[in-house]
Subunit: 312 residues, 3 copies
């Protein structure tokens, strides 16, 4: 593997999860693998879990880490080819990506969707420009379209908590006061399509995800029906995809409650808005496995970095 | 010791100062103690000395360090239980604290007083919420109520510079154009109460510190009288505690001058406003030991981290 | 060498370039030299190349690195002696410089020209104040007057790409929408004066650099004439020095094109505004060596840090 840009870069999910769990059992067993190698984390947006867990993963592998908040610390980047750069952008990504490649063995990038320009968001402008022009491997720390490090952590968490041959896993939309990107939901769906499960997506009408991603995954607009007999309920808000970036409603009937959850495990990528996405009762119960999900972010990143390092 | 939240966590000041001075004599002697351990420094406010000295202390102990400016780089945190989080706060401290605990062996936190809401400040909301929900030790890098790393550095500095069995130490208020928190003064008072000294607090009326902290420490409103025969004068501005967070006056008669100082050593936690808190003449003289105080911040932090690491 | 403040601190450019190229051939050969040593990078302005390459250089030398964005993370500094500090500045550089010296073995500083106050800019206020009050070596990561780490990287790049005994090197002004500092141009001129080359500076009238820096370097106001037979064309915008900090014109006739470049190599310190400073055609051609220039920033910094470390 050269880059880790999306869930599609996982060649064998079962093997990857197995490897991640082996790493988790002894996180520093590959401490020499990253020696003398530097990873540069470029943040174009805020981050808590990704920021800390990716650093931790790199440290566990013996790498040196350079963190940069690109927006506030660097120069505004131009992405369009052929532009006469006489406006606000000081540097073209062509140079920036090649330059950072001189100082790092791996570049990891977080650049969210704007939710304003669908076409631009779908092009994953920042991630793809760095992938095109950089001369070192690129890791996606959440792009406008996907969050594959989160999806791999989710797969690890599901694998650890699952006791059934074919569990029922539900991805449920939940209300949120602000417009949120589709990245986490997209990558979760793609990851679920790589494994054997009874997988259902549920959301109010109008919140359909990109059908090129959901493909033939089952969609059920009746949340209660979707949740029936669920083993895992993965909850996430996203804004409309068809009416791009819009909040169509904040229907509180979709908030996940203890009653709705039944005996299922509750999953969420965090940060989560309590009593909006899900009630306190659920989050504070044993059924919530969101903290373990966050913990697995380290081993998800470490698995990815290990595979890249082995290929350098 | 699990956490280092306040001066009250110092079980034996004499021993701690002795240990700190031993570490200072050979700062890397415990380089292996922190190997494979990560400290995460979370800044909710600006910092120079604390930021650099705590990193340096961790490095001296062989630890890996992750620094995060929580305000600008992460998500706005909610601290109140049971809130319906449909406003500006994206994440509850319950999750944030548990999550950071997954990536760090020790968490250090700086979160200043707002000086707007006395009750909230006195609850040390941020520090205490992390202490409650984190699953790893917490270090106070200045909370709304105390700055115990500074107080330990002050104790080391006093011990190094003192030649008397029972020195006279004066904590003097001094004028300042802006409202400042009580944290440094509070922790200095608490630390002085742990040792044998002729300790006097002096400030204009209206600037009384919390009596639950000053207890039976001597208070003298006549600054000149207080300073008579002093061996050490620790100077600090703080805003009113009774008329909470207010600047009652900026009386320049309280500025520390060479004449007022006499033969005493001058101490201040820094940053210090020259010719407002104290004259250039004092700061630029041999009697000022503020730079050594700053230097001792490293060994204060290192002593605390060492004790926590030994207990992990 | 104690400090690296300007090109004048290079005692023998030929030797330094030779040493840099030797380091580049095996970047970690002096990994033990910096062990147990800490460098603190203080940024008063944005940075991409300098930020990353200086960290990388320090890592290659085995040093620990502490990065601080002084403006946003620390306290506003006062530089004037004798000020009554009752306004916006919380700390005097006298204390700040001494204090940072307690935590670092080397301090590196970036503080750009304001382009508002010529006298203040020419005093290199921030850099010189730190140099005066710090007790450890200081490295200039671009001051108001010079960018000597860039100039050394330029010298390495010229040396690598040059095939002639006495190449023709042209420093050409080019248009830019915003007022830019003179630092890069100044240091490039000073560096060129240290070696045997046919060196020509070209710019529109009114853009004369400080004659104390250009000295007897050849100046040719006709760009086409200047570029004739050039082996290397170093392009950079700067604002007027005589009409300090002003953009006198943005004459697009000065943009470097393929035709103007001829067979010369194209150099620029980056970031570069495409199709304003230089056309895409040039930047995307084999004649551009700007990425290798950026790469050499690591070995420029590493050479400087190595020399300082050897002298500690």
């Amino acid at each position: 593997m050269k880059h880790y840009l999306s869930v599609n870069d996982i060649d064998n999910l079962t093997d990857w999860v197995k490897e991640a769990r082996d790493i988790k059992a002894n996180p520093t067993q590959f401490k020499t693998l990253g020696e003398g190698k530097t990873i540069c984390l470029l943040f174009f947006n805020n981050s808590l879990r990704t920021r800390l867990s990716t650093q931790k993963a790199a440290i566990n592998l013996g790498m040196d880490v350079i963190v940069m908040n690109f927006g506030g610390e660097g120069w505004a980047l131009e992405y369009v080819d052929g532009t006469i750069m006489d406006q606000g952008k000081a540097e073209h990504v062509k140079e920036a990506a090649q330059v950072v490649s001189q100082y790092a063995d791996i570049i990891a990038i977080r650049a969210f969707a704007s939710l304003e320009d669908k076409k631009q968001d779908e092009s994953e402008e920042v991630l793809m420009a760095f992938t095109k022009y950089a001369t070192v491997p690129i890791v996606n720390m959440e792009s406008s379209v996907g969050h594959p490090l989160q999806a791999l952590a989710d797969a690890i968490t599901l694998n650890e908590a699952n006791t059934k041959k074919k569990p029922k896993v539900v991805l449920s939309w939940a209300p949120h006061p602000r417009a949120l990107p589709h990245a986490v939901a997209n990558s979760f769906v793609q990851m679920m399509q790589l494994q054997d499960a009874d997988f259902v997506i549920t959301h109010p009408k109008g919140y359909e995800l990109d059908t090129r991603i959901t493909k033939d995954s089952k969609i059920e607009h009746d949340q209660n029906k979707a949740l029936e007999g669920a083993d895992f309920v993965y909850v996430k808000n996203w804004s409309s995809y068809s009416d791009y970036g819009k909040v169509l409603n904040e229907d509180k009937n979709w908030t996940i409650t203890k009653k709705k959850l039944g005996n299922a495990k509750f999953m969420h990528c965090l940060p989560v808005r309590r009593n909006v996405i899900v009630t306190d009762e659920v989050l504070d119960s044993e059924q919530s496995i969101v903290i373990e999900q966050a913990n697995n972010r380290t081993f998800s990143a470490q698995t990815v970095l290990k595979k890249i390092l082995e290929n350098l």
